[in-house]
């Protein structure tokens, strides 16, 4: 049976009719054309599909679109500023070569942002544990960890600056 789901995606209200079994990731990719969110597995292990739902990171292959009804969803497409300025975490991934093929990257960045939101100054150990749900086959994690540490610092700097203003 089709059902109607409505949510805010990257700040824009959307409403679509979907099959009830439609996963959030399928909804984002196929219905909304937001193909930045990737599908890397079918067992919720790889984290390529991580998005933010009401500010928390979620594997969007593990959630039905209908469950996100009424929620605010942010995907990788919605992370940079409207003028195209990269989010500090995106910028840190670029600066530290924290990506190669780019397939795990959207999920990795979204997880990292949530990690740092929860723990603003993570240690290397905490970053590694925090990213345990995201598999990368290219980078060996070395530069991802560096990027997340740097991104955390930049995010904090940004927050502090904003608070001071």
């Amino acid at each position: 049976m089709p059902c109607t789901v409505s949510m805010t995606v990257n700040g824009k209200a959307v409403s679509r009719e979907v099959e009830e079994r439609t996963l959030l990731v399928t909804f984002l990719r196929d219905q909304l054309g937001l193909t930045g969110t990737h599908v890397g597995c079918d067992t919720s292990q790889c984290g390529a599909c991580v998005v933010h739902v009401d500010g928390r990171s979620v594997k969007s292959c593990t959630m039905l679109a209908a469950q996100a009804d009424g929620a605010a969803v942010t995907t990788i497409e919605g992370l940079a500023a409207a003028d195209g300025t990269l989010h500090p975490m995106q910028a840190a991934f670029r600066e530290h070569h924290g990506l190669q093929c780019g397939f795990c990257t959207p999920g990795m960045v979204m997880s990292a942002v949530d990690l740092v939101t929860t723990n603003p100054s993570p240690s290397e150990h905490e970053v590694r544990e925090g990213l345990e749900g995201n598999i990368c086959r290219c980078t060996g994690y070395h530069n991802i960890v560096k990027a997340v540490m740097a991104g955390a610092e930049a995010m904090q700097g940004g927050t502090m600056k904003a608070a001071a203003e």
Binding site: T35, C101, H125, Y141
Partner: protein
């Protein structure tokens, strides 16, 4: 002033902007008007006769457009997936090459073999309907492991391949080896398994077929490392589509590691079906389907013996390997356990005599082919484990034993006894850098400190060499390659001075859009933002062989250099004309074309404009335009080499191995972008560590069911499983035969790491008398090894 975006600069990657903002375009991201979706019905049996397929109910399901089978393909005269390399057995007979149809016809030979394809309006509808396709199977006994497949009376995977032996091949001088063994003061022996792995690029394979009725042109968009190779194989051998009517596009590809080199049946099916149903057909693998159908890697069972004299000098090496090919020959499968493996068995050592035998075996498992390193990690692992055993048995320090046997830098170029000629390498230097880097002398103290905490500590080395930059076509051809292995490039200057470079290499994470642009920026002083790198589309690029075997920069980059040489020659002519000077007097300095001894100079931009606005060109001497193409075929392989050192700590109560430090010292020749090179090393190391400690592809030995068919069963290394790395390289030994002096860096990490980790693990366990452990060194295996070797009284 040095070009900030030239050679040697850690230029931040230009491709990152799209990947970081979700604007990459991977195959599954592409949707076409009228697109349909394909889902495959796959064999649940490792070996069975297909006695009937009833698609009537599936055809009635909502949204279903077609259900197609092997019989439909046969009726359309679709051919077998070709193998690109032919090996001959010891007796001179060619390898057995049974047909490999995109959809099985009468027999299924591995779990996951395609039986039918359902095409429907949506992916979900196709999936639902695939469940309704009724296939009658007559299950047959399966030959699952290579050893069991070789046993007398084993089920035959192919009726006409007796004993399941694809080929029985050898390399080297058996008599010289026997003579050396007869003289040996000591022989170290080792039986080892190089376990089967699943490559697991994060992007699952996908393919989108399209057919344009108006032009008769087919387009295949696919997750490939080499679109022209796919076009050639699929067009000429499988579907019979002439190349001018077949376009193959490999857009952004989410990792390959070898698994996306090969021509897979699904590519042919969607291309064929798109014409049949008159609409685009897209297929995207689910991860469990990738586990079942992507070509796997490794899967060797080997026995090795090393003969030494009294002083530990290596006299001879004897190796016997059984290599699992799986059910059919994948595109380059036969070359992996032969010319990419046995030829590397000299390693970094001057072992004067080597003999290797390789028996390749068919089994009822998915085909096995190249996976990062492809043959070379297997060779390195075997040699370096054996050297470590030899060191332990002779009591010679393992670093010293290696040093004693290194081919000295002064002996380069060095002809090995197994066909290759190393051009450069200073192996002692790598070791000299590594030893202080890891504080080798301080190891005993660190081991003592670990012991005080109840932990076992070990240190392990791997000194590797690999043959990369694959390959000279004439050599590859002589060894059985059915393709050339050059690379192509076109450097096109536009009238306003910007440049488009078309390369036959393919980037699926390696950063070509940055590194290749650095080459152009360095050469002509063009700002890097004015250089565009185009790859992955047979309708745009010249015929290229693609990316694998760490060949992109060494072969593809060299092709770009060759094309730039041609551009420069032409530009000099134009400059001479413009500056009214003799061509011989034009010099190129910092990207400017200068009349020697004068201040008269032009930039390449000035020249490009003139090339396209040739108002007063002497047309009989000078053609308009500035657009040159080149094909580069290397003279030799390149030989990256290095020294990896790993230190592990093991908890004897749980068997958990922790990699506490890992240092890699590498010689990649000249380095264009250090940031990217280091990233390649990091990634390679974790794939090697993954093999050593975590990954293992397991089929049930009787039923042939894939036990490790998901990320819940197949252990991928994760961020908290590995440490940060110490990576060093030196540029003192540039490759002598390519214009950039580069050797390649893509596979090095994977080649060295498994051996270094396992040597460290065995060293840590040596106090229990453990002398060898097969990979992966899981907690259970380590714990069992400790228990097995613990004296009964101590255990009580």
């Amino acid at each position: 002033m040095a070009n900030p975006n030239g050679i040697g600069a850690s230029v931040r990657r230009r491709e990152d902007a799209r990947f970081l903002t979700g604007r990459g375009t991977y195959t599954d991201d592409i949707n076409r008007p009228g697109q349909t979706h394909a889902v495959f019905v796959r064999s649940p049996y490792a070996h069975a006769r297909i006695t009937g397929i009833d698609a009537a109910e599936a055809m009635q399901a909502p949204g279903v457009i077609a259900v197609l089978t092997g019989a439909d393909m046969e009726a359309d005269k679709v051919g077998s997936l070709p193998c690109g390399w032919q090996i001959h057995s010891k007796d001179g007979s060619p390898m057995k090459e049974p047909p490999h149809f995109p959809i099985a016809r009468d027999r299924t030979r591995y779990v996951g073999d395609a039986i039918a394809v359902v095409i429907a309006e949506t992916r979900e509808q196709a999936k639902d309907a695939a469940e309704l396709v009724m296939v009658d199977y007559e299950e047959l006994p399966a030959a699952v492991t290579s050893l069991k497949a070789l046993e007398g009376g084993a089920p035959l995977v192919h009726d006409d391949v007796g004993g399941n032996v694809c080929f029985d091949w050898h390399l080297g001088d058996a008599a010289a080896v026997d003579a050396a063994f007869a003289q040996a003061a000591h022989v170290a022996k080792l039986d080892l398994v190089n376990q089967r792995l699943v490559p697991n690029a994060m992007e699952p394979r996908a393919a989108l077929g399209e057919y344009d009725r108006a032009t008769g042109e087919h387009t295949l968009t696919t997750t490939s490392q080499n679109p022209h190779v796919i076009r050639l194989l699929m067009g000429a051998f499988v579907l019979g589509i002439p190349e001018h009517k077949l376009r193959v596009v490999a857009p952004d590809v989410g990792g390959g590691f070898g698994s996306k080199i090969f021509h897979y049946g699904e590519e042919a099916v969607v291309t064929w079906a798109a014409k049949k149903v008159g609409r685009p057909v897209k297929w995207t693998a689910e991860r469990s389907e990738s586990f079942l159908t992507d070509a796997h890697g490794r899967d060797h069972v080997s026995h090795a013996e090393l003969a030494m004299d009294r002083d530990g000098n290596f006299l001879a090496l004897r190796v016997s390997t059984i290599a699992n090919m799986g059910a059919y020959l994948s595109t380059f499968a036969p070359s992996i356990p032969t010319y990419l493996y046995a030829t590397l068995l000299a390693g970094q050592y001057k072992t004067p005599a080597i003999y290797a035998e390789v028996k390749a075996v068919f089994t009822n498992t998915v085909p096995v082919d190249a996976y990062r390193g492809a043959g070379r990690p297997e060779a390195c692992y075997l040699i370096e484990r054996l050297v470590e055993v030899a060191a332990a048995e002779t009591g010679i320090d393992k670093a010293e034993l290696r040093r004693r046997n290194f081919v000295p830098a002064s002996a380069m170029p060095y002809q090995t006894p197994v066909a290759l000629q190393y051009d450069t390498g200073d192996f002692a230097k790598n070791l000299d850098i590594a030893l202080p880097l890891v504080d080798y002398d301080g190891f005993a103290a660190r081991r003592g400190e670990s012991a005080r905490r109840g932990k076992l500590r070990g240190i392990g080395f791997a000194t590797y060499i690999e043959a990369c930059g694959i390959a000279p076509s004439n050599v590859a051809g002589a060894l059985g390659a059915r393709a050339g292995l050059y690379e192509s490039a076109e450097v096109r200057f536009h009238p306003t001075g910007s440049v488009t470079v078309f390369t036959g290499s393919h980037s699926h994470g390696q950063g070509h859009e940055t590194t290749f642009a650095q080459l152009v920026s360095e050469r002509f002083g063009v700002p890097i933002e004015n250089v565009e790198i185009v790859h992955g589309d047979t309708s745009k690029i010249p015929f290229g062989m693609g990316t694998y075997g760490s060949r992109s920069l060494a072969v593809g980059g060299s092709a770009i250099v060759k094309a730039m040489d041609k551009v420069e020659r032409k530009a000099k002519k134009i400059a001479a004309h413009m500056l009214e000077a003799a061509e011989a007097d034009i010099e190129v300095k910092d990207g400017r074309f200068v009349v020697a001894g004068t201040d008269k100079a032009l930039t390449i931009g000035d020249i490009a404009l003139q090339a396209y606005v040739p108002h007063n060109f002497p047309l009989d001497e000078l053609e308009p335009g500035l657009d040159e193409q080149a094909f580069y075929d290397p003279k030799n392989f390149t030989y990256p080499n290095g020294c990896h050192v790993c230190e592990v700590e093991i908890d004897p109560d749980t068997g958990v191995v922790q990699v506490v430090s890992f240092a890699a010292v590498d010689d990649f020749g000249r380095v264009i972008n250090p940031l990217i090179v280091e990233g390649q090393v990091h990634g390679g190391l974790v794939q090697g560590i993954g093999q050593a400690l975590y990954e293992n592809c397991v089929y049930d030995e009787d039923s042939g069911q894939l036990i490790t068919g998901s990320y819940m069963d197949y252990c991928m290394p994760r961020a908290d499983d590995v440490p940060s790395f110490t990576v060093r390289y030196h540029e003192d030994q540039p490759c002598t035969h390519n214009p950039l002096g580069v050797k390649g860096c893509g596979e090095a990490g994977t080649i060295g790491a498994s051996a270094a980790v396992m040597n460290a693990v065995v060293h840590a366990l040596s106090e229990y008398g453990v002398t060898h452990l097969d990979m992966p060194a899981t907690p259970e295996r380590v714990w069992q090894a400790i228990r097995r070797h613990t004296p009964a009284q101590a255990a009580e």
